[in-house]
């Protein structure tokens, strides 16, 4: 125990005083390079957690929401543009993205303790999960939709009558946002029993 304290004291002294054997240039450049390597690695890891492969790596996501997405226009379409999980579910701005990544610690918790590890549990929770995403998109004015769908670029003449009517009025005036009408477009809507409880619960 004594020798450990002695060791720490010795290294603390070494850290606090100027180096004798390593030049200022080496220490500065070395630290700088280490910083570049660290930040590169950090961003690589961050991006690795932002891929569809990572998202669908657990069966909760793979067997439920991912299978539903595959049948929708956002996944399978003639133009070859695909919206993957993080395009809609992870904020693109750095601060909000980091906050979302920290929120994911709760998802790790859920994975460890099996919050939705069966189809039945998932269906039971679907309404709560969907409501959370709807509230998020409502609050940020459907930001993740608008990352691809620019209101200003919409050609109303190529939209159906019903769509152009809704888009040129409520959406244009900002009274409504995308998610107000476009719910259940990438995943199935929560099914409700006539009493308003989720089906399968």
């Amino acid at each position: 125990m004594h020798s450990l304290i002695d060791l720490l004291k010795r290294y603390w002294r070494t850290i606090r005083r100027p180096s004798v054997y390593y030049s200022l240039g080496f220490l500065t450049v070395g630290g700088f390079i280490a910083g570049i390597l660290f930040w590169g690695g950090f961003n690589t890891l961050l991006e690795a957690t932002n891929t569809q492969t990572f998202c669908t790596g657990c069966h909760e996501m793979h067997d439920n929401v991912y299978q539903e997405l595959r049948a929708t226009i956002h996944y399978t379409n003639r133009s070859g543009v695909r919206a993957k999980c993080p395009d809609c579910h992870v904020p693109h701005k750095w601060t909000n993205k980091i906050a979302r990544k920290m929120q994911a610690s709760k998802e790790v918790w859920g994975k460890v303790f099996g919050s939705i590890d069966t189809r039945e549990k998932f269906l039971e929770k679907r309404k709560e999960l969907a409501a959370r995403e709807w509230a998020r998109l409502k609050a940020n004015d459907s930001l993740e939709c608008r990352n691809c769908h620019e209101f200003d670029y919409m050609d109303f003449t190529r939209q159906s009558k019903r769509a152009s009517e809704a888009h040129s009025t409520s959406l244009e005036r900002g009274e409504k946002t995308c998610i107000d009408c476009h719910k259940g477009i990438a995943h199935r809507l929560p099914e409700l029993t006539p009493e308003g409880r989720p089906v399968g619960g």
Partner: protein
């Protein structure tokens, strides 16, 4: 030539750049993320503006 001092300086440098600085940075960034999350719990989801 103080071999022991040289070893200690080398180990200190490696420890600071490879262990301490990265660990501290990750702690600061995740702490910031948690702080923003807690703020969002109180103030509601981000408005995106």
């Amino acid at each position: 030539m103080d071999e022991q001092r040289k070893t200690e300086e080398r180990r200190s440098f490696v420890f600071l750049t490879v262990v301490m600085a990265p660990v501290l940075t990750v702690m600061v960034v995740s702490g910031y993320g948690f702080a923003v999350w807690i703020y969002q719990l109180l103030a509601g989801p981000p408005t995106g503006g």
